[in-house]
């Protein structure tokens, strides 16, 4: 005891005890702070306390023997009672804390929590159902707030997910539109390509294409627009269609790049947010008589192409001095030529491959030398096999490959070799 009153406590408290003693069981039943009712097994109300009658706004005579418990409920509550509450009460002998609403005589509703227990006779037969009804207005208001909050949150989440899915679909379609569905067949030349998308949320800026120019020549290009996202994709689209159109007008690689440079520079230079790309553009001219294919290409700031020879050697096809496309009103482009004979493959790639991280952070990148060494091991293989090997290499980079990567291989198959992979 922290503190004890020293005076005689009995005087005042005795009066309270006396008053309590006058509170008979009957008085307690009738005026309890909850509703009581007893029903026959068929639900007919046999006994009900004044508290509940007060909530209902009904006279005892109108209820006892005349109404069933379910008659006190709203229609929806009655459905719930009949399909759930009543069968469970039968099965379990008791049920507690069920949220229902009772209907008042004037049409009002009172949310309540209902608990019932079946009273059994001496031989175990069910006799009657005793039910307590608690006023749950405050609690229900709170629960409804919770439910409303939950609904709003769920709706927002659903909406966000739907939006995200729709956006990803749209991005995937756009991304597809930036790349050819399939590469056209070229007589005496085998082609293969691969595109790695770094993030489904970000449109990539890499691109490639192969297309016929006239009866005997085919154009090809592969490049990388600086930046990512929708703006980069717009540049990619403009670039792709400009190059195709330019090549049909004049297939000379430098002419095609010069046209592209002019278009990009005029379109973007004035906006304070210059857009440009690196690209290799080339023309293939297969010669059915010799089985050889001549390659003329030009590069605007793009990493040098690789040539994989049938004899197991490989080397870069240097194009130094070619400038990024779109940066200056007039730009120099570097050209290179080579001839592909049986078993040779020309490989174009974007810097996602050479800039892939091979260690922690960005200190160690894959690099040109590693790439040269890797492709040398695959020199002499057909384009689909080379692309397959590189695809596996890219997969091996895992998280280290955080940029888009495009690969395009064009080769003259050696007679009698079987392709191991179809890309």
């Amino acid at each position: 005891m922290m503190c004890r009153e020293e005076h005689d406590p009995r005087g005042a408290d005795q009066a309270v005890f006396a008053a309590l003693l006058e509170d008979s069981a009957e008085e307690l039943y009738e005026s309890a702070p909850c509703g009581y009712l007893s029903t026959l097994m068929d639900g007919t109300i046999a006994k009900i306390n004044a508290t509940l009658l007060g909530w209902l706004g009904r006279e005892r005579a109108a209820v006892v023997g005349r109404m069933r418990f379910s008659d006190l409920l709203t229609v929806g509550g009655r459905l719930y009672h009949e399909t759930h509450f009543a069968p469970l009460l039968r099965m379990q002998g008791e049920i507690s804390g069920i949220a229902l609403e009772i209907r008042q005589a004037d049409g009002g509703r009172v949310p309540v929590l209902v608990s019932s227990v079946v009273k059994h006779g001496s031989t175990g037969e069910p006799l009657l159902i005793r039910t307590t009804v608690f006023d749950a207005r405050d609690r229900r208001a709170y629960e409804e707030e919770l439910l409303r909050g939950r609904k709003v949150a769920e709706e927002a989440r659903r909406q966000a997910e739907a939006d995200r899915a729709r956006l990803q679909d749209a991005l995937a379609v756009l991304q597809q539109a930036l790349l050819p569905d399939a590469l056209p067949p070229i007589p005496g030349v085998e082609t293969a390509s691969y595109y790695h998308t770094a993030s489904p949320d970000r449109l990539g800026g890499d691109f490639y294409d192969v297309f016929p120019i006239d009866g005997k020549r085919f154009g090809f290009f592969l490049g990388d627009v600086c930046g990512k996202g929708p703006r980069a994709a717009a540049v990619t689209s403009l670039t792709r269609y400009t190059l195709r159109a330019a090549a049909l007008h004049d297939p000379d690689p430098v002419s095609a790049l010069t046209t592209l440079n002019k278009v990009l520079h005029e379109r973007y230079a004035g906006e304070g947010d210059p857009r440009f790309c690196t690209v290799v553009f080339g023309v293939l001219e297969p010669d059915a008589a010799t089985g050889q294919t001549a390659v003329h290409l030009a590069s605007g700031g793009h990493p040098p192409a690789l040539v994989l020879r049938a004899d197991g050697t490989a080397g870069f096809l240097p194009t130094p001095g070619g400038l990024l496309v779109g940066i200056l009103p007039a730009a120099p482009f570097a050209t290179a030529t080579t001839v592909l004979t049986a078993g040779d493959t020309l490989l174009l790639y974007t810097d996602g491959l050479t800039e892939a991280r091979t260690g922690e952070g960005r200190a160690r990148l894959y690099g040109d030398e590693a790439l040269l060494s890797f492709v040398t091991d695959h020199a002499g293989e057909r384009p689909p096999d080379v692309i397959h090997a590189l695809t596996e290499l890219l997969r091996g980079f895992g998280d280290g490959l955080d940029d888009d990567t495009a690969l395009l291989a064009l080769g003259v198959p050696a007679p009698g070799t079987e392709t191991k992979h179809t890309i």
Partner: protein, 267 residues
């Protein structure tokens, strides 16, 4: 797909006897047949199951689209019949299950040879001259009641979570009935049940049919029972002196008597 697991199929009774399927209605599970099973086990092979989303069915099998129509549930019934290779089985369906049985018998006539429709209703909502007993608004109220009891369940679940040493069966019951009644699934079943209209399907019933209704059923009033009886050619109507929507629970003797007499007449 493991149908037995999906629908928590229980087979009991006389393996040599004719098959009887007992199908629970909305809001409950196969436990509601506990007073019916003893009357059948001696003579019949008794098959009990839970609809997906109820009782101890496999919750991962719940596909909202499939169960957005009674046909989805009926397909499950047919698959249960196929899994057990039942032929000419009697299908005893309570409430909405009675209508699911009608659809299943139509889909697989060789599987289901008789119907017992306990407190059936082909349509709960009033429609011109038809008195189903409810308005669309009433059904929304039921959905609200389902929703609010989702939160109210915490009180119900407390004894289960804490364990109830002297009445372990109570915990079992609660687990059976409440745990499995996932509110989202119950909502789908409730919508499918109470918004369905199967009145036209009744005319296609070609198997012997017993219709059981109750003198005092707030959900399927007597006029609905009479409508079902009228719509199914050659059906038998028995009105049980029972109150409420579950005569097999509130008046099991009379219900069992009517069912067994009907089943005996089929042999």
């Amino acid at each position: 797909m493991d149908v037995a697991r999906r629908n928590n199929v229980t087979v009991t009774g006389n393996p040599q006897g004719p098959a009887v399927l007992l199908a629970h209605g909305f809001g409950c599970d196969q436990n509601m047949w506990r007073s019916t099973v003893p009357a059948l086990v001696e003579d019949y092979r008794v098959v009990l199951f839970d609809y997906v989303g109820s009782g101890r069915s496999d919750p991962s099998a719940f596909v909202p689209d499939r169960y957005a129509s009674l046909e989805g549930y009926a397909r499950d019934v047919v698959e249960v019949c196929e899994a057990l290779d039942l032929r000419d089985a009697a299908f005893v369906g309570h409430s909405v299950s009675a209508m699911i049985g009608v659809l299943a018998a139509d889909m697989a006539p060789e599987r289901i040879g008789a119907l017992v429709m306990v407190a059936p209703s082909p349509r709960y909502i009033d429609d011109e001259d038809y008195r189903g007993g409810f308005s669309a608004q009433d059904i929304d109220e039921l959905l609200d009641a389902l929703e609010s009891n989702y939160l109210g369940w915490s009180a119900v679940m407390a004894p289960v979570i804490m364990g109830n040493a002297d009445r372990p069966e109570l915990g079992e019951e609660l687990k059976n009935s409440f745990c499995a009644t996932d509110p989202d699934m119950a909502r789908v079943f409730a919508r499918t049940t109470f918004l369905s209209d199967s009145r036209d399907d009744l005319k296609r019933v070609r198997v012997p049919t017993l219709v059981l209704d109750c003198t005092n059923d707030a959900i399927a009033p007597r006029e609905v029972g009479a409508f079902v009886h009228r719509s199914i050619p050659g059906s038998t109507l028995v009105t049980l002196d029972a109150t409420g929507h579950c005569p097999h629970m509130s008046a099991p003797e009379a219900t069992n008597e009517a069912i067994t007499r009907f089943l005996a007449g089929l042999r």
